[in-house]
Subunit: 443 residues, 2 copies
């Protein structure tokens, strides 16, 4: 289906949440024009005259219209490995299952189809923007273009032979070529750099990767402080924490997004806050791999910007950001043994406004005029969403399956749970075919 610029969509008869923590607007409406929100209103405010000429009119049937969710950390193509290796600790999982499977099965075709599958899962569960990082990232970017997702597509850099970059000495020049190809190519795609981690990249590689990201003004991602063991695995004097190591290398600044940030001491927190670096946590992956619980409330108190992602679905195993918000809030309560920690609205903030800001996409994730039209409509006529007293329901009771229609960049990509922008059935068939080569435990 062609990715043509839409004209105008008018959605009425809905409840509207403009941003986390705001009062719900009842009997509301919203009008898009091109790829932005043109106007919103509620109850007694009359829609503007243009609504009568909207290309598409959607009766919200009393549903909840909300900003599309942002998944700030994913390895989309890893949908192929969902359920291949469960109930294993990070080191075993990564070195004995994931890395070997990647060496064997990751290729351009796999990344393309499996990223499309992830896009389908994300759209169906209300995610409109993803920050992805993987090998053959050009294929992932192509998948996001074709599916209609908004994406940060981050090229992975690692200091061992990797899919697409068999000779690691060429990993920086390969990254340069990726940026050359994708910078300015498509309005929904932002290319970026992803240095795998301080334990799989040399200090030189880390610095070169960061310099490249800075020079090209693209986001720089790195997995850091995920496990307690990481400190012993980095190229740094004994006792140096991974965060202090990055700081010493000059890697922490507002363009750096630290993924995980589970094991942080007070000095690490001060360094992150002082340098303006962001942190994206993936609470379900942290639980499932028994990595730990990130000190999110402590980060927020210090003014560190905290975002939220699912991680690849081999360690989750779901890309549903509603589930992730729920678990973010609940695990912080148990981490601090304080039930008032990380209230629902804060989880929603992480998954929307904070993620948008961290990823440098400031004009998405709120329903206000002139913001990008990235919207989700939820079906509220369901027993598990009854009664609905306030927006906290989105975090503690809703799930991705409640999302009925999705608009990304002003384009209706899903309506009544049917994806309109691409052939999901064909993608599932391709992934089933690829999955036949995977040696997963039968049970």
């Amino acid at each position: 289906m062609p990715d043509t610029m839409p004209d105008s969509i008018f959605i009425h008869n809905c409840t509207l949440i403009t941003a986390p923590g705001t009062t719900l607007l009842q009997r509301a409406w919203l009008l898009t024009k091109g790829n932005v929100i043109a106007a919103i209103g509620s109850a007694d405010s009359l829609p503007p005259p243009e609504t009568t000429t909207a290309t598409t009119i959607i009766d919200g049937r009393g549903g909840l219209l909300a900003p599309g969710l942002i998944n700030a950390h994913n390895h989309c193509a890893m949908t192929l490995f969902r359920g291949m290796a469960d109930d294993l600790g990070l080191a075993t999982w990564l070195t004995r299952h994931i890395f070997p499977a990647e060496a064997r099965h990751v290729n351009e075709e796999m990344v393309y189809h499996c990223s499309k599958l992830a896009a389908a899962e994300m759209m169906l569960s209300g995610t409109t923007t993803v920050a992805d990082g993987y090998f053959f990232e050009g294929q992932a970017a192509q998948a996001f273009v074709e599916t209609g997702m908004r994406a940060i597509a981050a090229h992975g850099i690692i200091d061992f032979p990797a899919p697409g970059v068999p000779n690691p000495t060429q990993n920086i020049e390969t990254a340069v070529r990726f940026l050359d190809t994708w910078q300015g190519r498509h309005p929904r795609i932002t290319p970026a750099i992803f240095a795998h981690s301080p334990y799989t990249c040399s200090n030189q590689t880390l610095q070169q990767a960061k310099e490249l990201a800075t020079k090209r003004q693209v986001p720089f991602f790195i997995h850091v402080a995920e496990s307690r063991q990481e400190q012993g695995m980095i190229q740094a004097p004994q006792g140096t924490s991974p965060i202090r190591h990055l700081a010493a290398l000059g890697l922490l600044d507002p363009g750096t997004i630290c993924i995980h940030g589970v094991w942080l001491d007070d000095e690490d927190l001060d360094l992150l806050a002082g340098n303006g670096a962001g942190v994206v946590v993936c609470p379900q992956s942290h639980l499932k791999l028994a990595s730990g619980m990130a000190p999110v409330s402590a980060m927020i108190e210090r003014g560190i910007k905290v975002g939220l992602g699912t991680d690849g679905c081999a360690s989750n195993n779901s890309l549903d950001m509603f589930r992730e918000m729920d678990i973010l809030s609940k695990t912080q309560k148990i981490h601090t043994l304080t039930a008032t920690s990380l209230p629902a609205a804060q989880a929603l903030t992480c998954a929307t406004i904070n993620n948008a800001s961290l990823l440098g996409l400031g004009n998405i994730a709120q329903l206000e005029p002139d913001y990008k039209a990235d919207l989700i409509l939820l079906d509220m006529h369901q027993p598990h969403l009854t009664p609905c007293y306030n927006q906290d329901l989105l975090v503690y009771a809703a799930s991705g399956a409640d999302v009925q229609s999705v608009i990304i960049d002003g384009r209706l990509v899903m309506r009544d749970k049917k994806i309109l922008s691409f052939d999901v059935q064909a993608t599932m068939e391709e992934v089933h075919r690829l999955a036949q080569k995977i040696n997963a435990p039968q049970k």
Copy 2:
């Protein structure tokens, strides 16, 4: 719709999971006769001739047919309080929000409609049996009869003026009347006794309640060891743990089901194991109220039977048992900092076989001939369930929203996501009406 005894249902073209930890049967079929499973088969085994005369034939369309899930702890009528008081600690939540709301809003009509709403939510998410405990439990039992749920309906006993029992000195005789009314009355309903907790019941009340349950051979439930503070709130010598207190009162035996069991030391675990008492954990409620994490792996190692429930949805806020299994497994991994803890199949065991056994319903929760026909059929043609390597997917990737059809006691109560057994729309309207009286924060 009348609750007539069904004749026979034949389901074919599905994958079948007979019990947790078993290999999936491919190209399988299942035949029910009356309220039990008559036969199952797969691939080359031919269905028996009776299938041709089955009253209902269901094409599984490649879906997964699994035992219905059991929710071993719920306060169904509390659906009215979903989202009324979030992000609060147990003591504040209970004494300043829930108890006052119950005093004001709980009546026969509320329990009836709100329990029906819970039944709808549970069926839609694949739960076929619930263990409920609340006030006006006769109304809850009536709701389960009418909706088609299988239920343990436990009459609540508490030593202060409660809805339905304004004078607590009459709480035992009221319980006797409840058992008189419901024992043997309906094949799907098992009445039981629920003593609220050792901090809200006197020692005499606890013993009288347990004696009644023993005499009438019905399950005995009690909330116990939920919070760290509980030890200081019970009628026992200083330093006595709640579990040792129950043991000293003679309350621990195989007919007792301890709800929560979060704060247990080695001696408590030995007492539970030695006396054969069961424990039902509610991990999402434990997280949300910041109560703690129950030592489930340690209980299982000692041979204590551990079941799983959602708790009432005011402290969860979902009755989706798929979500609960996922969180059970993930929180145990973080509790023990060991990713191999509580693997997926064990979570499924808790939600099916263990719950059935704890509740004294041994012949449900497995798909084998002569077991009760309590079945759920999941739609597997979805991106988030692709690929499907094994049954762990049920725990880590599936959700209640994937359930397409539900059979309880041989009766098709839901087909293609539509509940057939009662008018859910009317129930939602009744609950919306009741909810207008609730003073919940606007946000």
